[in-house]
Symmetry: C2
Subunit: 567 residues, 2 copies
């Protein structure tokens, strides 16, 4: 491709509205342009990268016999109402009306659509398992779109849906898809973790996020360095064993603590370390009040409470509810003398506390020398707190680290969440009527471009790997007014193309400096410069990632480049 | 691919809501399903056909150095307002608001978007010509969606846009694209006409529609059988020469014609053939009153009036306007004694009329023995009427026929319509500031599926050509309980795949009749049946289009099929 015929609007200045270096590079190297907040045009270079990503995804999915389909972007609102997904009131879903005032939503996901399709056509286990996927533009009305393609409002996704007669079949497919994702990210050359995740919105359980490691990512997770375990922070398993102090139990004492409402304040007031204060949080779990207890130096994970109590919704109770039920301010809530019908859920660590401080359920007062079991009852104990970096790993073999990255994939076992709502019933092998088992598998393609941009860049621009670069070779005649240079460049262009190299030839009448700066920005793996040595039949080759340069005879170019690309 | 693992929901019944046979087949053969009026899911078979169409389109466009891009579907309304395209009030454009109450439209076309992109980045002729294309879902809120994929509200299009420094460059690209379209439709095996078309909405001129011949199409056009000329009816050139009667002019006579308002009534009232009555139509041309005259047996083409007068808008004046300006009812309007400032435009045929009848511009009266020039003046005469089937062709060599078909492509020379509105200015080779010359080139991909379905079917189902069929071979073990049959089928499946045949194997435990009916519906080019002769190593081959059948030894299958597919 001639650079004069492709649209690569490079920028000299660093765009003021882009924080991340990778986002700046995507703008500066002419890969993308913003049309409106969180809405981007993918220019030709980005489109070429996207096509290469898509090809890898298709190849890996088709190994699983996934079949491609194209579902509608406009979704009738009624369909989503049937599924119980109350997205009509969800601010993040774009809605619109047609000229007959019928309401639609722009697809952010398509479980309802595909479940209703399959429901209407498949009624026997004999047509299962079935896996369909599509690659499509999706929409989400982010309140605050940011970081370019990382959090956009219009984005490209691969979404796949699987249908099964049994849980075992779903489990198998889930594992196969897990492996397919691993293959895809490995082929993309991305450093990633498969992280045990919350399922929240979609309503299923058993779910993994695939997170590409990046200091600029918004997802934080805990992992073991040897790669055996990774989980989102809110779910990372705590395996710490707590020892109870040998100190004798002292007498429970009510102490006035005016204006002391936080763990920090109480810790100071009593001159006790935070780990000897009980942190009490009042939650609404599926609408019921639940009191949770963790150590003062720990934090409650609502996600873990949700799993422990097998609940649908878990939220903090607001001040009014607390005042109504417990008769005190939030800062003075504690585990002692709670109404009988309120469940108390304590973290393992609380059980080992001795002579602790806790709220008195009376505004302005705390108890000192509080001891679990002696002073208060616990309905359920379990792991309900956030892990801390450096704690022991779930397998006990090492300690966990915290990582940060970009979520590029998310796979779910939906089970029968949608099929039950939408009455997608089949006859199973035993002749019984049963709801379809479902899985869903998302992958953010435009976000993958951002993740790749994060991973493959340096200060000068991109450093695309060979199989994802928009072109393989950047061929640069330094001076196109020089007939010898231009002639040799055109010869090499034809030759490289005949060997199926994808070549971008910079045929612009620009200064060498401009061409080289643009070439570094665009970041093709190999730059072949045709300059003053053209008269001697020498071409100058530069490897973008390492900066290595070679002077090669023009006759050597194909062989040596082929060798370089085969490695 | 195993048929048990792909989603092909065939139907026995003919769907009640589908009129066209091709649409019925798309539903019955499990290619598509409707999700809402004019909104379809493309199931795996249709998706495979679409991918093959797209591949052909990409290959042909890339020969022109067109570069692929992906533009946003959500378009800020402000952008369209800038271009003067008043689509915010257009019922056919879907609009929506985000959570911050900013307004967007779902792209029906993207001239504004890409013009603003190019305007911001390109300011010199040196980066031109430039041709960008994309393949994307588009939206149009059709008042009455119909005929399945033919007139849908969500559809897949290829749209391309070219940018030039000169008209000559645009002309060249337009011709290249014209040829690329011809190559694409030829490769798709479609019988089509490139038809001179109206440009209406988009505002440019010089435009062709590509219409695939189909008795069920909505587009009517005139063409010459030897293929030298085709035009949409409203623009097809009339080349007929009219002779004036030798009859002497008689005296102009006012005649009372109560309640006689139509050409039919007047013709009867005066006992004169329609061709001796003058049909007078009052138009609003760019807001001004224009009176047009055609022969009573002819019809005015507003499109031709628009071209003749180089106008932006042409519409019929309503009764009130006519009453106000001419002081009479619409049915009594005529060319005589019109106010001086009203332009009179007559068709060539009117000039040759002698002793005709015409309205008197007085309700209830007509003139008899009206003669042009003697009785009324004509400001402009020209070809302003619809052609009739059988009239002489523009080159005079033959007569025109009328055809009917499906519009699958439309190419436009936009000129500077958008670039002027959006201030997309470049410096040309002479150093002058000039507005970009633009072309745009649309092709309906989902509509092409419908057009192909129209062309390639019979009563039993589809008859896909080899290069567009979802798979090449339908391999059918008649009885999968029979180990010999299943074994041979699996061997053949592996063998065919190893030779890169795309094979759909019907591994369902269904009766032979069901399998064969489904196979005919789906319409793959070749059916290979493994039945009772499997024990003798014989496979039965049936060609879908011709119905020819062969018994081949299994060892012959690859060679003979390869030969068949190479032809």
């Amino acid at each position: 491709m001639k650079q004069s015929q492709i649209f690569i609007p490079t920028l000299r200045e660093i765009p003021a509205d882009a924080e991340l270096r990778s986002h700046q590079h995507l703008l500066r190297a002419g890969f993308i342009r913003q049309m409106a907040s969180g809405i981007y045009s993918y220019l030709p270079l980005a489109t070429r990268v996207i096509r290469k990503i898509e090809k890898i995804i298709r190849e890996e999915l088709e190994k699983l016999n996934a079949v491609e389909t194209i579902l509608p972007i406009m979704q009738p609102v009624e369909l989503w109402q049937t599924s119980g997904r109350q997205h009509t009131n969800n601010k993040e879903v774009f809605t619109l009306q047609d000229q007959h005032e019928r309401k639609y939503m722009l697809a952010a996901a398509q479980e309802e659509c595909i479940t209703s399709l399959v429901r209407d056509e498949i009624n026997t286990y004999k047509r299962l398992p079935l896996m369909m996927y599509q690659i499509q533009t999706k929409f989400r009305d982010e309140n605050r779109p940011r970081h370019g393609l990382l959090r956009a409002r219009e984005f490209i996704m691969k979404d796949a849906y699987s249908f099964h007669d049994t849980k075992a079949s779903l489990d198998d497919m889930y594992n196969e898809m897990f492996n397919a994702y691993a293959s895809i990210f490995t082929r993309l050359g991305l450093q990633y973790h498969a992280v045990i995740a919350e399922s929240d919105l979609i309503g299923g359980k058993d779910t993994h996020e695939f997170i590409v490691v990046s200091p600029n990512g918004e997802n934080v997770f805990a992992y073991t360095p040897h790669g055996t375990y990774a989980a989102t922070l809110s779910l990372a398993e705590v395996n710490t064993v707590y020892e109870t102090s040998e100190e004798p139990m002292r007498e429970l004492t009510l102490v006035a603590t005016p204006q002391q409402r936080t763990i920090e304040a109480i810790s100071e007031w009593f001159d006790m370390p935070k780990k000897l204060c009980i942190k009490t949080l009042v939650l609404l779990v599926d609408g019921d009040i639940v009191v949770t207890l963790v150590r003062g130096d720990h934090d409650v994970s609502l996600a873990k409470v949700k799993v422990l109590l097998q609940a649908h919704t878990v939220a903090l109770a607001d001040e009014q509810v607390v005042a109504e039920v417990l008769g005190c301010e939030v800062g003075y809530v504690g585990p002692i003398k709670l109404p009988l019908d309120i469940r108390v859920v304590a973290d393992h660590a609380v059980l080992a506390m001795r002579n602790a401080v806790a709220g008195a359920n009376e505004s302005g007062y705390h108890y000192q020398f509080v001891n679990p079991e002696r002073d208060f009852a616990i309905n359920i104990s379990g792991d309900i707190r956030y892990i801390q970096e450096g704690e022991v790993s779930p397998d006990g073999a090492t300690t966990v680290k915290f990582g940060r990255g970009i979520e590029v994939g998310h796979i779910f076992k939906l089970g029968t969440v949608y099929s039950e709502q939408l009455a997608a019933i089949i006859t199973n092998e035993e002749g019984q009527q049963t709801a379809l088992q479902m899985g869903c598998y998302g992958m953010g393609i435009s976000r993958l471009v951002a993740a790749l941009a994060e991973q493959y860049h340096d200060d000068g621009g991109f450093t695309w790997p060979k199989h994802l670069a928009p072109f393989h070779v950047h061929l640069i005649p330094v001076n196109i007014q020089d007939e010898v240079q231009l002639g040799l460049a055109e010869d090499m262009y034809g030759l490289l193309k005949s060997y199926h190299f994808e070549v971008l030839i910079d045929d612009r009448d620009e200064r060498a400096g401009v061409k080289f700066t643009d070439a570094d920005l665009i970041g093709l793996p190999v730059r072949v410069t045709i300059g003053k040595k053209a008269a001697e039949g020498i071409v100058e080759v530069k490897v973008r990632t390492t900066g290595e340069t070679y002077d090669w005879q023009k006759e050597e170019l194909i062989d040596k480049l082929t060798e370089m690309f085969r490695n």
